[in-house]
Amino acid sequence: MTFALLLIGLMMLGSAAWAMLGRNLIHSALLLIASWAGVAGFYLWAGAEFVAFAQVLVYVGAVSMVVLFAVLLTRQNQISATLIEPASRARAATGILTAACVGAIFGAAILSTGFHGAASAGPVSSVKRIGLELMHRNGAALLIVGVILTVALLGATVLAASDSKNSPEDLP
């Protein structure tokens, strides 16, 4: 069981690190899809099947397509993408150093904490129970999330829409 967790974590972290270090943007997007699939595998491992399939639908299915469309719509010539100036290099080194410090602090805090009360069998979850919880106790939150999604997607459409005056398809 721990071995499966290690395998899932290795896949998740390895593909995420490779994606963040890589130079090719398409490869990075595809590797991040693998990382999100690893997160879904972790949810399956932990017994949260509903969340795992929601992760597959939303991230592996939808967000990855949006990311790939954005990559393809904003393509630029390869020369400017591979040029690295010294200021950018210093910024990258500072960013990685900051992340390493944050990781060291979090790791030390986790390893020095003793968690107790851990259930060995694990909780039992059913889709019916999640549906009842969502519609009964968290009904207002569900409605608010729906409104947020609608407003955000309308705003995204307005932001990304091109000027219709200059579009040749709209000319009479």
Binding site: A19, M20, V39, F42, V63, A141, V145, I148, A152, A160
Partner: protein, 103 residues
Amino acid sequence: MSPLHLCLLISTGLFCIGLAGALARTNTILVLLGIELMLNAANLNFIAFWRFGPSPASANGMIFVVFSIAVAAAEAAVGLALIIAVYRHQKNIRLQDANQLKG
């Protein structure tokens, strides 16, 4: 080391990779994807504490993650629309070049 420690360490690693990507990369799309990775690390923590927590009867962790995934999807859509709008103005998605409000 208990499995809970291992889960938390894995999610710490994912968070740090996302933080390094968001701070170090110059491409705006990769910065946004780093933020998405950090959100995913937070979701891993929710599920880990739900799985190994003291009250296994409740489904609170899963409810949290469902809402978090919905908000993250909205954030990704708006972020990528902003990237496309910036690209239309300056034919470039380098983060350092996007330093004007009216281009």
